[in-house]
């Protein structure tokens, strides 16, 4: 039997770390596209991605079930091919955290990319550098503060994800009970001392992340 306090703690960091890594890659790319490209469905993509920011996370979770559940649009294919479903695994917790943290990364990164002086980008192009080179050597270094803010906020959000995780990963002790879920169970069963510890821990660490984003001038959202 795994420790009811330390298992959720370790799992939460594991889930938040993997989710944040994915958020960085996917979010960075989408932010770049939204900031610099005009394409069909740009506004729709923007709205779809931002929705989890305003929807109750249970609703986000509900959509994830519809998409990735065993009978879901994507999930049924995966199940037919592999006999495996993401539901009620820690990967599902990663998926939930990823989807709710993604808009934070995209909003901050997009704003940072858009604030890079257009003339610098033009200068890079006219000096013979391709779009990719320009993105890596000019845009990335000049918007890294905003990106870092996005990463930190995403991690904090991923760490605190509750509703969507509950919907698709469940609250299985020793398997998918991340800190927020464990706190819910502990409070329900009146185990206040363990709950207090986790609540305090989550609060401190989230406060610390906000301090970091402020400290480095990354005022966002």
């Amino acid at each position: 039997m795994s420790n009811p306090v330390f298992f959720p703690l370790r799992l939460s960091f594991q889930v938040a770390s993997v989710a944040t890594l994915l958020v960085m890659l996917v979010g960075g790319l989408i932010a770049y596209l939204l900031a610099r490209k005009n394409f069909k469905g740009r506004t729709l993509l923007d709205i779809l991605i931002t929705l989890p920011l305003v929807l109750p996370s249970t609703v986000t979770g509900y959509y994830l079930i519809i998409l990735f559940g065993r009978n879901g649009f994507v999930g049924s294919f995966v199940y037919d091919w592999t006999g495996w479903s993401i539901m009620f695994t820690w990967y599902a917790a990663v998926l939930a955290s990823f989807v709710v943290a993604l808009p934070l990364m995209i909003k901050t990164t997009r704003a940072a990319i858009e604030s890079v002086d257009e003339n610098l980008i033009n200068a890079s192009y006219s000096l013979g550098h391709s779009e990719l080179e320009t993105a890596v050597k000019v845009i990335l270094p000049l918007s890294k503060k905003g990106m870092l803010a996005g990463v930190v906020l995403s991690f904090a959000r991923a760490l605190g994800e509750f509703g969507a995780t509950l919907m698709i990963a469940g609250n299985i002790p020793g398997r998918t009970d991340t800190m927020p879920l464990a706190i819910y169970s502990l409070a329900n069963s009146g185990e206040w001392s363990s709950a207090n510890f986790m609540v305090l821990f989550l609060t401190l660490i989230s406060g610390f992340f906000l301090y970091i984003t402020n400290r480095y001038g990354m005022r966002t959202v």
Binding site: L120, S126, L127, P141
Partner: protein, 250 residues
């Protein structure tokens, strides 16, 4: 040899419709702000796409709407100095200049950057950031960077507008040196009448998105073609020419 352009571009109710050509000399695009001078440079460099037209540099077609030729800015051999210079704030002076060395091999790159630092008197500033050097020095770095890639023509968008007068004079003489050294067409955008008068081999007068007159400085200032040019010459004249300056030479 030289640069010839024929451009039509409509943006937000403004129409640019110009046609001109120059040889291996310095042409000044002269006119009030909003006349389409900077837009012309952007169109030539490929940073904007003309609705219609042709851009040729030394017999090479860079853009031709009827043949559907449209080289990207990376493949157009121009050295472009932007109005705000556009030095990369996160790179040192040397890194900025080296960034212009795309396509040169390692040995040539180092030799060339050394040469540029000498020509533009940037010695001792190599490891500073753009924010740590003066306006005149930034100017020289921007010119050095633009010339690294051995451009076939130089596009200068009001590069001296932010400078104090004494440094301006210095930059103008530096630009004359550059022309002797590199012998390529130079397009200089300005609304400064003295700059136009003293630097230009040819002046191309812009007003409202059209070319109103092309000629030597004496032709343009001596015999302005039509009311637009006359007004430009007179207004600009009273604003920035010291009394006693004789513009009607010959």
């Amino acid at each position: 040899m030289g640069l010839s352009v024929k451009l039509l571009k409509k943006v937000n109710g403004f129409t640019l419709d110009v046609e001109w050509e120059i040889g291996n000399n310095l042409a000044v695009l002269f006119g009030f702000s909003g006349a389409g001078k900077s837009m012309t440079l952007q169109l030539i460099a490929g940073l904007m796409k003309p609705d219609d037209g042709v851009i040729k540099l030394n017999k090479n077609v860079l853009f031709d709407s009827s043949l559907k030729i449209n080289l990207p800015p990376q493949e157009r051999p121009f050295g472009y100095v932007f109005q705000d210079l556009a030095l990369f704030p996160h790179m040192t002076v040397k890194a900025n200049i080296l960034y212009g060395a795309k396509g040169l091999d390692r040995v040539e790159r180092q030799a060339r950057v050394k040469g540029m630092i000498e020509i533009f008197r940037i010695e001792g500033l190599e490891n500073r950031l753009p924010s740590e050097i003066s306006g005149g020095q930034k100017q020289r770095v921007a010119l050095a960077r633009a010339l690294m890639r051995k451009p076939e023509a130089l596009l200068l968008d009001e590069p001296f507008s932010a400078l104090d007068n004494p440094i301006r004079l210095e930059m103008r003489s530096l630009l004359n040196d550059i022309r002797r050294e590199f012998n390529i067409p130079v397009i200089l955008v300005t609304h400064d009448i003295i700059e136009a008068y003293t630097m230009a081999d040819r002046i191309i007068v812009y007003a409202g998105g059209r070319v109103k007159q092309v000629g030597s400085p004496n032709e343009v200032f001596g015999a302005p073609a039509g009311p637009d040019v006359e007004m430009l010459v007179n207004t600009a004249g009273t604003a920035s020419i010291p009394p006693g300056t004789n513009l009607h030479l010959n």
